[in-house]
């Protein structure tokens, strides 16, 4: 197999090659969004527990002030994206297709955009790695590629497992998106400095920057920025979706395969997104918390697509207004078209993980009706994980979730390649996320039932034990009573014998 791969070249045999739709947005210069009047900063912008507010309504805050503290080990603090006052702490619509609400801190901007006091560090490489983790955590830096895993938690993991290689993800394989591309073109020095700080924080010997070959300017800019550092290498990877997925990028760059149920760090690599590296640079070197990010605005319904630097918490409607809406968008998507989520409306604010807002026109939003599966196998060929989407979907379709799980449902990364290529337009990803949800609900209820059963068994055992003890005690008491009786009534038995004797005498 290996020899065959060598002969046929290293072209990945997985994934799809969707039209990227990245231009002209990717080539438009980065713009700054005019400061919005009101910002809704959600408390849950990372995996893990939502942050806990530390401000009160009416309080004044400066840009970068802590407004919510982390709550638990895998959590991140939230900072004020601009100066102003806290006008509300309450529920807003979450950036989720359900339209359910979540807690957010609303800040009314004063327009000054005045920073709080920042503590810069001249030489981050003189700091202890733990100190870099601490500063990164305090700045609320989470994975900006969309996974929003707190960066510092990953640093600590990497340090503990002695990761040798840092992989910097500049893949940005999602169509339409170009925020990482823009980041690398415009702020290559920041990215490279940030990734070197990350290397220091995890104790990595080398860094590999993977960039897809459809971003020549980003490659050129990063090459210049990384030239001075011998242990930082840039690798151009083929543009193929989902190259930006950890596992696929690791395999492409190092040839290593992350075992199922294991973390990348366990094979000696750690992956961080380019924008995350830039955020680490700002957090550590300049003492700036993560309060803004580059957001791609794209889609057929926009007149001026491009990338903007926007404060976290900006309502999507402000972004759309800035980019000019030519027609009523038929669908709003947060993230890329392959894995992004539909927004219920435009008042939802952007979060740290929001790499793009796509406003699709009617043609882009058209969803063809699903037909029967013709078993063409396109999905199998496209799956980057080596799964059998059509088999899993047909099992799920008849409610046989266990056999779908047996086919590797848990290994599905939800990248959407299968549904993308399906000529019958079967919503495969929907099938899988439904089944995953169902299975985890079932697992939870199984655990609950187990716990209940254990309690019931314990109770039955306790009752039985108590009954036994009681019986034993009764028996013991009875025995004692009998013994006592026996001691007193040696005579009484004699008496009764005597009576019996007399009656027998009388009878005779």
């Amino acid at each position: 197999m290996r020899i065959l791969e060598k002969i046929l070249g290293r072209r990945p045999h997985w994934g799809v090659h969707p039209d990227d739709h990245k231009r002209p947005a990717a080539d438009a210069p980065l713009r700054s969004l005019p400061l919005p009047e009101v910002l809704h900063v959600p408390l849950q912008q990372h995996v893990g527990n939502p942050a806990r507010p530390v401000v009160l309504v009416g309080e004044r805050v400066l840009k970068g002030d802590l407004i919510a503290e982390p709550n638990g080990n895998i959590s991140a603090p939230v900072h004020a994206p601009t100066s102003g006052w806290i006008s509300a702490i309450g529920e807003i619509t979450a950036a989720h297709p359900s339209g359910l609400s979540q807690l957010a801190i609303t800040i009314t901007a004063d327009g000054a955009d005045a920073w709080c006091e920042r503590v810069p560090v001249a030489d981050p490489f003189a700091l202890a790695p733990e100190e870099i983790s601490r500063r990164t955590a305090a700045a609320g830096v989470v994975g900006l590629g969309g996974a929003t895993f707190p960066a510092a938690v990953k640093f600590n993991l990497g340090r503990r497992l002695q990761v040798g290689t840092l992989i910097v993800n500049g893949g940005e394989c999602e169509p339409y998106l170009s925020s990482d591309d823009r980041m690398m073109r415009d702020r290559a020095a920041e990215v490279v400095d940030g990734l070197r700080i990350v290397m220091h924080a995890i104790g990595a010997r080398e860094a590999l920057i993977g960039i897809e070959d459809n971003k020549p300017q980003a490659i050129a800019a990063m090459r210049v920025a990384a030239a001075a550092f011998g242990n930082v290498q840039l690798r151009v990877v083929p543009a193929r979706y989902p190259m930006g997925s950890d596992k696929q990028l690791i395999q492409t760059l190092t040839g290593k395969e992350v075992p199922a149920d294991a973390r990348a760090a366990e094979v000696g690599v750690l992956v961080h997104n380019v924008s995350t590296c830039a955020a680490v640079h700002r957090a550590v070197r300049r003492g700036e918390p993560l309060v803004e990010r580059i957001v791609t605005l794209n889609g057929g319904a926009l007149t001026r697509p491009g990338n903007v630097l926007a404060p976290i918490g900006t309502p999507v409607v402000d972004l759309l207004r800035f980019a000019g809406v030519s027609e009523r968008p038929a669908r709003l998507v947060l993230g890329g078209p392959m894995m992004g989520i539909v927004l219920p409306h435009a008042r939802v604010p952007i979060v740290k993980g929001a790499s793009g807002i796509l406003a699709f026109d009617a043609a882009e939003a058209r969803t063809p009706p699903a037909g029967p599966c013709i078993r063409c196998g396109s999905c199998t060929r496209a799956c980057p994980m080596g799964l059998l989407p059509l088999e899993m979907a047909s099992r799920i379709g008849v409610g046989d979730l266990d056999s779908a799980a047996g086919l590797g449902l848990s290994d599905c990364i939800g990248c959407g390649c299968c549904a993308y290529v399906c000529p019958a337009h079967i919503p495969l990803v929907q099938f899988f996320s439904h089944a995953k949800g169902e299975l985890s609900a079932r697992e939870r209820s199984r655990l609950r039932n187990d716990a209940t059963r254990r309690l019931a068994e314990d109770r039955a055992a306790r009752l039985a034990r108590e009954a036994q003890e009681k019986a034993a005690a009764n028996a013991r008491r009875k025995a004692e009573r009998d013994a006592a009786k026996a001691a007193v009534g040696g005579g009484s038995r004699l008496l009764s014998t005597r009576i019996a004797d007399t009656t027998s005498e009388a009878a005779t």
């Binding site: 435009a346 882009e364 013709i374 290994d411 000529p423």
Partner: protein, 360 residues
């Protein structure tokens, strides 16, 4: 600015590759077109009438069943799968077969071969081959009445009306006058008479004739070159992968060359096997049927090799001179088994599905 209308819960991905089932089926039909037109030219009007009768009855059978199953008829017909089934069946019939062969075959293909299993995507066996084998077993005489080529513009080729007469069985004497044997049939009967292949084939044909297809055979089978060209088009469009055609033709060639080298007087040569009968049509259009073949690359190699091997065995030692249709059906029956045992390796797991060892 107008706020966007609330979007329903639409799951990712919000993009598709822009293909659909109809397009896939129509491309396959388009790939069949050159060989079909060549067959029409070669065998004249009766062949054209047989073609439309077969495809029309396949479509009619599909429509009837959809109606009975209370499903939307038109959208399902528009996927063009019934058209393709009828077309493939027509190509595998003797070109001057009487009308009822085409009609019964077309109806059988979609009604019994496909719809009783539950329609598109549900059938276990290739519908066209099911119908062909049924016809061959039930009506062996008209199904083996082959016609020598009589190109459309040649002197005594039947015209449109004469073609209708022939197809609708009003002039059986014309059929008798034209009847001939396929290469495999001829070789077999000569062998059984004790004439070895070296003698019997010397007079008949060189492989170049097989390439051009100018000899007795079913409507579309004999023009191997055009069929292969259509197959290459499908490969180029990535509608099929190389695995099944390659595995089938390679296995067929392997056995043919081995046996031929053992005894050229008794076993036909590689080129004869590859370029005659349904080898090419089977390799590129029949065995590659999505629904009835495995859907992993490794499974397709196994499947293709099985079809190639069985084709050779049936052609050489079986009761019928041609074996591709039987071979495909036999391997169709094995497809679920192949799919069960030949699976791709899941990323991060070994072949048994256990997580890989951490190497680092």
């Amino acid at each position: 600015m107008i706020p966007p209308r609330p979007a329903g819960p639409v799951a990712a991905p919000h993009a598709t590759a822009g293909t659909n089932v109809t397009r896939v089926m129509l491309w396959v039909c388009a790939a069949l077109l050159p060989a079909t037109l060549f067959g029409f030219w070669l065998y004249g009007w009766p062949a054209i009438h047989l073609w439309w009768l077969t495809t029309a009855s396949a479509i009619a059978g599909e429509a009837l069943c959809l109606r009975l199953r209370r499903q939307a008829v038109l959208p399902s017909l528009c996927d063009a799968s019934a058209l393709l089934t009828g077309w493939l069946l027509a190509l595998s019939l003797p070109p001057w077969a009487p009308w009822w062969v085409g009609v019964v075959g077309g109806l059988f293909a979609t009604v019994i071969g496909k719809q009783v299993f539950g329609g598109l995507g549900q059938n276990l066996f290739n519908p066209a081959m099911v119908a062909r084998v049924m016809l061959l077993i039930s009506f062996p005489v008209p199904m083996t009445a082959w016609t020598a080529p009589l190109p459309l513009r040649s002197a005594n080729a039947p015209g449109f009306v004469d073609g209708l007469w022939i197809t609708f069985g009003a002039r059986p004497e014309a059929l008798d006058a034209m009847s001939s044997a396929t290469l495999f049939g001829y070789a077999r009967s000569e062998l059984s008479r004790g004439v070895d292949l070296l003698q019997s084939l010397a007079a008949t044909q060189a492989p170049t004739i097989n390439l051009l297809g100018e000899r007795a055979g079913s409507l579309g089978e004999t023009a191997s070159l055009l069929i292969a060209a259509g197959g290459l088009l499908l490969l180029g469009l990535r509608l099929i992968t190389w695995h099944i055609p390659f595995a089938m033709l390679a296995t067929l060639a392997l056995f043919a060359s081995f046996m031929h080298s053992l005894d050229p007087a008794r076993y036909l040569s590689v080129s004869t096997h590859l370029l005659s009968g349904a080898a090419m049509l089977g390799a590129f259009f029949i065995a590659t049927d999505y629904v009835t073949s495995p859907n992993t690359a490794a499974g397709q190699l196994v499947f293709g090799a099985g079809v190639g091997f069985l084709s050779y065995v049936i052609r050489t030692w079986g009761g019928y001179p041609e074996g591709v249709a039987f071979a495909v059906l036999l391997m169709n029956a094995l497809t679920p088994v192949i799919d069960r045992y030949v699976k791709p390796r899941i990323y991060g797991r070994d072949r048994r599905g256990m997580p890989l060892e951490i190497e680092s």
